[in-house]
């Protein structure tokens, strides 16, 4: 997707095709919204919002959302979506935590968490790609069952008692920057590289563009969709395990909220491309908007309940704007 992957800010291909200025404004709109938010909060509370400590704080907060949103991006590139990314992260983290509590070594416990998350993705992939269930029905079902499994694994309580060295994954700060940010960057870059430079990424985008065209072009559509869900399960598990390490505890619902936020971030990100396809760069902008807004509203003193209301409104606004944009075309 050479032409479609380029972030709106540069977009050389678009320029040679004499895109009207208003079109650029549309595409840049989401990025401008992020900048506007930063300026707004910076002006309201310069000393609290723009401090090094707070910026670091924002980045640490959005790192896990970025990882789970990257997982959601992959699924949305193939034209599906995954309601279970949040609970999958929760279950993966809880599994690792429970095993460590029982004395399993850290690497083995992490591996087990990753395997569990990947397995959830495999189940989603089989249901959607090979048994032809709609992604909504299939992932709603796994959302419910996996959510239940998380309660079983944690016994309904919050798990502590993991070894101190495990916490370094989520809490250490090499060069003064929280380690989860590094993980988020690695995941985002990896997903970006796969989407842009591999045949798998090409197949994913083709399936998302038109599954029938892809099939008649020789793409194994079922396999492509299956792999997308599997990858999403694996990435969600990474996010969930890092979250448990950062919090120092694992509950039965710790990462569940990330699902909606991840969907919101991907939707926001889809608006920056003319084709309206899901893309990692846009998703990160979306994650940034959500993180900055949440942090800024906290500083200004708006309640978290109201933040939730605002998140919904932002999703509606983003989707409406991108619909308007595609109607203009």
């Amino acid at each position: 997707m050479a032409s479609t992957e380029a972030p709106a800010a540069v977009a050389p291909a678009a320029a040679t095709e004499r895109t009207p200025f208003s079109q650029h404004l549309w595409q840049a709109g989401t990025v401008l919204a992020l900048i506007a938010l930063i300026i707004l909060f910076g002006a309201l509370r310069p000393e609290a919002f723009l401090s090094f400590g707070n910026v670091r704080n924002i980045l640490a907060q959005i790192a896990i959302l970025a990882i789970i949103a990257a997982a959601q991006t992959v699924v949305m590139v193939v034209g599906d979506f995954d309601l279970s990314v949040g609970v999958t992260a929760t279950l993966a983290g809880a599994t690792a935590a429970a095993l460590m509590g029982d004395g399993t070594s850290i690497p083995l416990a992490i591996l087990a968490g990753l395997v569990v998350g990947t397995l959830v993705g495999v189940v989603n992939g089989v249901l959607v790609a090979y048994m032809n269930l709609s992604a909504f029905v299939a992932t709603l079902a796994t959302l419910t069952s996996v959510g239940g499994l998380a309660f079983i694994v944690t016994g309904g309580t919050t798990l502590y008692g993991m070894p101190e060295s495990f916490f370094s994954i989520g809490q250490s700060r090499p060069f003064g920057i929280p380690l989860p940010i590094f993980f988020a960057v690695i995941v985002a870059v990896a997903v970006w590289v796969v989407l842009r430079f591999t045949t798998l990424g090409r197949r994913w985008y083709a399936v998302g563009g038109s599954a029938e065209v892809a099939r008649l072009s020789g793409v194994n559509v079922r396999l492509a969709r299956f792999l997308a869900f599997t990858v999403a399960g694996f990435l969600s598990a990474i996010g969930g395990i890092i979250l448990v390490s950062r919090l120092g505890s694992a509950s039965a619902t710790s990462a569940n909220n990330y699902m909606l936020l991840a969907v919101a971030a991907v939707f926001l990100g889809m608006t920056i491309l003319r084709s309206g396809a899901a893309n990692v760069g846009g998703t990160l902008v979306g994650v940034g908007i959500i993180g900055v807004m949440s942090n800024g509203l906290n500083i200004v003193g708006v309640s978290t309940y109201f933040q939730q209301v605002l998140t919904g409104i932002i999703i509606i606004a983003a989707v409406t704007l991108s619909a308007l944009k595609s109607r203009d075309r």
Binding site: M1, A2, T4, A13, T199, G201, R202, Y205
Partner: protein, 507 residues
């Protein structure tokens, strides 16, 4: 009862009359002075090739489409139907095969759909509803359980329910579009009995069908359309199937087709006993450098035949051999492409191109092995393939990165072709290669096809346009209800012979 020579009620004005109907779609003439005159108490066949304008005319007289000019009269009075509801109100009802019933509600509710539901204080009175529905079905001599879900009925029962509903709204003019397409012989007999009964009650029936034998068995008079005009209306008793076919045909050859003589005797594709959905026991051979035309009516299985060959549809039995190598039974599009069979599908916008993607990305989708190494895609290789395709096929675009959705239909079709030709197929399958394309690009595509053949490619093209089939092909195979009904060298083919094969009249 009616007599053979003067069927229907002659003295009174026609139940439905349309005259001088003209209709353009986006500036293209669809109807140019079409007419139809149906009497009370007759079954009137409306005939014509695909694209002759039958459907448009029906849409005009049922209020779905507003004509540019022309008159519609109902029992002699001029009417103007702005909506389907208005046409219903005047007693004109059309039944389409697919849209006629609501499968998830009961038979009785279907019969009375659109009518006021019998109720008391907002609560449905099921007894009254079932009784009224039962009366309508009894009129048709049908015993269909009223409480059954309509979706559980057999096709003929569903048709009956649809007819009963039309009668419940007091239809005096009933238009049936291909009502027998999915019926068995005994079911057809049943349906005909009901239609004759309605005719004898004075209902005017318009019967649209591609099955000429049925038309001659059932109908009293016929109207033949061609190129959006009504050519003739006459009693069935005064004509023959052969005469009808030659009246339906008869367009001048408007295009220059390139010279043939590129076919060789080297067999590239051999198909034997190929069977799948809508395709039964098809066998043929195609040679290097040959353009093989496939004819047949819509729904004859011609498209499915191509899809089976391309691995896009499940094969039940039969063998496909390319250059001496038999292809595996579970084929799939990927394997078929690897074996050298490529398909340019029928529906360009939904099957051929991803409209939002660029030209080069569309071409790349089918050529990933050629532009990648160990799973890594080279954007430079993609651009190179795309640029040579743009030049080769003379695709009019600003560049390989332009979105396909912004191109004209003809150039979109060239992108689909480019995508498949980049695979260098031995056998190129094309389903309706020039549908919805302007005349100039059509001629270009004909020349391109012949150029490919000259280079040894085998081209197999499905077309519903007979002149195209004859002008383009070296040899023509015609399918009818999934089977080969005839084969002729194109040099000896004429439209009448082909059309009679299309209607299943084997030589």
């Amino acid at each position: 009862m009616t007599t053979a020579l003067q069927p229907g009620v002659v003295g009174a004005p026609p139940a439905l009359e349309a005259a001088g109907i003209v209709k353009h779609f986006d500036g293209v003439l669809a109807l140019g002075g079409a007419g139809l005159s149906v009497r009370r108490g007759e079954i009137h066949a409306l005939l014509g090739e695909n694209g002759a304008g039958k459907s448009t005319l029906i849409k005009v007289v049922t209020g779905l489409v507003a004509p540019d000019s022309g008159e519609i009269r109902r029992d002699g009075e001029e009417v103007r139907f702005s909506t389907v509801r208005a046409a219903h109100g005047a007693g004109v009802v059309a039944l389409y095969q697919e849209l006629s019933i609501v499968p998830t509600v009961s038979v009785a509710e279907n019969v009375l759909l659109g009518e006021e539901t019998p109720s008391r204080g907002g609560v449905v009175s099921w007894r009254a509803l079932n009784q009224r529905a039962g009366e309508q079905l009894a009129r048709l001599n049908q015993r269909i359980p009223l409480r059954k879900l309509a979706g559980e009925l057999s096709p003929v029962q569903q048709t009956m329910v649809a007819v009963a509903r039309a009668l419940a709204t007091d239809a005096r003019v009933l238009i049936l579009d291909e009502p027998t397409a999915s019926l068995t012989d005994t079911e057809i007999t049943d349906l005909f009995a009901v239609l004759r009964r309605l005719r004898d009650e004075g209902v005017a029936i318009v019967y649209v069908s591609h099955r000429l034998e049925e038309v001659f068995e059932l109908c009293d008079r016929l109207t033949i359309m061609r190129n959006g005009e009504t050519i003739v209306t006459k009693p069935i008793a005064e004509t023959t199937i052969d005469e009808v076919i030659s009246t339906m045909v008869g367009r001048p050859h408007g295009l220059l087709y390139p010279a043939r003589d590129t076919a060789t005797s080297e067999v590239v594709l051999e198909v034997s006993g190929l069977t799948g959905s809508r395709v039964a026991d098809v066998s043929f051979r195609a040679h290097a450098g040959e353009v093989l035309g496939i004819g047949g009516l819509a729904g004859s299985g011609r498209s499915e035949l191509l899809r089976l060959l391309a691995g896009a549809q499940k094969r039940v039995s039969g063998a496909i051999t390319v250059a001496g190598h038999e292809l595996p039974h579970s084929l799939g599009v990927g394997r078929a492409l690897d074996a050298g069979i490529a398909l340019v599908p029928e529906e360009r916008r939904s099957q051929g191109v991803i409209l939002g993607d660029s030209i080069q990305d569309n071409i790349a989708v089918a050529n990933l092995p050629a532009v990648s190494r160990a799973g890594w895609v080279s954007n430079r290789a993609i651009a190179k393939i795309a640029r040579s395709a743009l030049a080769d096929l003379q695709i009019k675009a600003r560049g390989p990165r332009q979105a396909v959705g912004h191109l004209s239909g003809g150039n979109q079709q060239k992108v689909v072709l480019a995508k498949m030709l980049s695979r260098r197929p031995r056998v190129l399958l094309m389903d309706e290669p020039t549908r919805g394309i302007d005349v100039g690009t059509k001629a270009e595509i004909y020349r391109l096809i012949r150029r490919l053949a000259a280079n040894g490619t085998t081209v197999i093209a499905v077309s519903s346009e007979l002149p195209e089939l004859i002008g383009l092909s070296d040899r023509i195979v015609v399918v009818h209800e999934g089977r080969v009904s005839g084969e002729v060298p194109a040099a000896d083919a004429d439209e009448e012979t082909l059309l009679s094969y299309c209607y299943g009249r084997t030589a």
